[in-house]
């Protein structure tokens, strides 16, 4: 990207900061300004409780994302590829999707157990029940985009593969899967964003993490910490999405690259 575009972007962010500064100076008495927030931030990063919250939220969101991707991509590929699988598997998923993940919080905390998974290489990990809420946020966008990705592949690619001697599973491997990748990638970026949204909401119920840090600052009346929480969640969310975007682009080198 050229320098003038960076300059424009930097200017617009400087504008936002200035507006915040002015609003804090003349506006509502309780709104902390940039300076107060920065001071609070400096204080927070020296406390282990802040870093515990950062680690807790980050681990939860990535667990949710990985489990969602590992389940949603194969299920979505099968639903999109095979009409019969689609008819059997998709309707119940559509029903479950009709309740937004946040509506699942009470149910999850009461009913869903914290699971212990034994994984090869990684070893034993504990998946807290709250991860399920973030998982729901990520699962459906990845699933729906995977299905769309498969259905959007021109039938002539499958025909071409068949006429070149590809068996059905080879068509799946060489046409359906790679053909759906760009759409899967989009679903993952959206899914990561929604995993954060839903995790933060779920954490506010009192299970630690940055969501809880922000919420307890509200109940404790420490206004700058609320903004520190908001900014931290925003930064980590942005970073997570950037990682997913980058990793995805490396998997689809054949796509004409678009500006980030």
């Amino acid at each position: 990207m050229d320098a003038s575009r960076w300059a424009k972007r930097a200017t617009s962010i400087a504008g936002l900061l200035t507006a915040w500064f002015l609003l804090a100076a003349v506006g509502p008495e309780l709104l902390p300004g940039p300076a107060a927030t920065a001071a609070s931030f400096a204080e927070q990063v020296q406390q282990s409780s802040y870093w515990d919250a950062v680690v807790a939220s980050t681990v939860r969101v990535w667990m949710a994302f990985v489990i969602a991707a590992v389940l949603a991509v194969p299920i979505g590929l099968l639903i999109g590829w095979n009409a019969m699988v689609g008819d059997f598997v998709f309707p119940p998923l559509e029903l479950l999707r009709s309740s937004p993940p946040i509506a699942w919080i009470a149910f999850t905390i009461l009913v869903v157990p914290t699971a212990t998974l034994g994984l090869p290489v990684i070893g034993i990990i504990e998946v807290e029940n709250i991860v399920f809420i973030a998982f729901l946020g990520a699962f459906f966008p990845i699933l729906l985009n995977t299905i769309e990705g498969v259905r959007g592949i021109d039938e002539e690619f499958s025909r071409a593969a068949a006429s070149l001697g590809a068996a059905s599973w080879q068509t799946f491997r060489h046409v359906i899967y790679p053909g759906a990748l760009p759409s899967i990638h989009t679903g993952m970026i959206v899914g990561m964003g929604l995993a954060w949204v839903n995790l933060v909401a779920a954490e506010m119920t009192g299970v630690g993490g940055l969501g809880f840090l922000t919420w307890s600052a509200f109940t404790g009346g420490s206004y700058p910490v609320i903004i520190v929480g908001m900014v931290s969640i925003g930064a980590l969310g942005y970073l997570s999405s950037a990682i997913v975007r980058r990793a995805g682009i490396s998997q689809i080198p054949w796509q004409e690259t678009q500006a980030a």
């Binding site: 006429s163 001697g165 068996a167 060489h174 054949w254």
Partner: protein
């Protein structure tokens, strides 16, 4: 744009180098022309009828079409748009089942797509997620029988050497069509089914592609069914031009083209060529008018 330039230059240079030995070598062209008439047919189409059913309204696309294609014969199906040419090809490829009638290849009834019946699509269907090299290897790779020398030879013959690692979208339209031809030839099909493969190319590139296709066809023994609505293209390429009627598609007339081979593009201005062309245009004109009336009626 610079890619396009190199593309054209490359193919012209390439042609010079491959033309020489071909012109001096034996030309089994005249033998081939008769192959379809005397020899046993490779493709036998008996009373092919296809009815489409888009939302309840039955559309009769092809009505009782009979056609035989001989071994090593080059046949062009010529007809106005929407006359069911592609439907015939799709039935031979095994993508569609006939509503009535039968298509047999090598005596066996066609049921599914098969690598012995290769297809080149109108809009190229190279896999965008695979490089040119990976596309070229696709057919043999499915049978775990990749012959790298053969792939390299084909890429070289079509002026695509050096583009193995490029993705299709990085190539010009003409290069993409050549790459698709390579992918097909690497699979060594008995018959090549080509559905208006050059219709999206500019006039210059189209001529070069036609000559290249004839070079390949004359060099290796192949059977080709080539669909087009371009009269000149049909006569230039074919041993036999099968003129189809407007929908529902039937065979209106078959023109045996006895122009000598190898054919070069300056041939299209000769009197002999022109008389074939006039005849074909006469035949197709009424059908094109009918097709247009149908299209307006819809």
């Amino acid at each position: 744009m610079s890619r396009q330039d190199t593309d054209d230059r490359k193919s012209t240079d390439d042609r010079k180098s491959t033309d020489g030995p071909l012109q001096n070598g034996q030309r089994p062209g005249s033998e081939r022309a008769q192959g379809g008439i005397d020899g046993e047919a490779l493709v036998e189409i008996d009373g092919l009828t296809k009815i489409y059913d888009p939302g309840g309204a039955d559309v009769l696309a092809v009505d009782g079409l009979d056609l035989d294609i001989g071994h090593n014969e080059f046949v062009c199906l010529l007809g106005p748009s929407g006359c069911g040419k592609s439907t015939v090809l799709e039935c031979i490829a095994g993508y569609l089942g006939p509503t009535e009638g039968e298509v047999r290849v090598d005596g066996e009834r066609v049921r599914d797509p098969d690598p012995s019946r290769g297809v080149v699509f109108q809009e190229n269907r190279l896999f965008p997620w695979k490089t040119i090299g990976e596309n070229a290897r696709f057919g043999p790779q499915m049978r775990s029988a990749v012959d790298d020398d053969r792939i390299e030879e084909l890429l070289g013959d079509t002026g695509l050497d050096g583009f193995e690692d490029a993705y299709p979208h990085e190539l010009s339209g003409g290069m993409q069509q050549r790459a698709e031809l390579v992918r097909l030839l690497a699979n060594d099909p008995d018959i090549m089914l080509m559905d208006e493969p050059f219709s999206g190319l500019d006039a210059m590139t189209k001529e070069l592609m036609q000559e290249m296709l004839l070079d390949i066809w004359e060099e290796e023994s192949r059977t080709v069914l080539f669909i087009t609505h371009d009269v000149e293209e049909a006569i230039f390429l074919a041993d036999r031009v099968v003129v189809m009627t407007a929908r529902p598609g039937e065979v209106k007339e078959v023109i045996d083209v006895d122009l000598e081979r190898p054919r070069e593009f300056d041939m299209v201005t000769t009197e002999e060529f022109t008389s074939y062309k006039e005849r074909a245009i006469d035949l197709i004109h009424d059908e094109a008018e009918r097709a247009m009336a149908q299209a307006e009626g819809q």
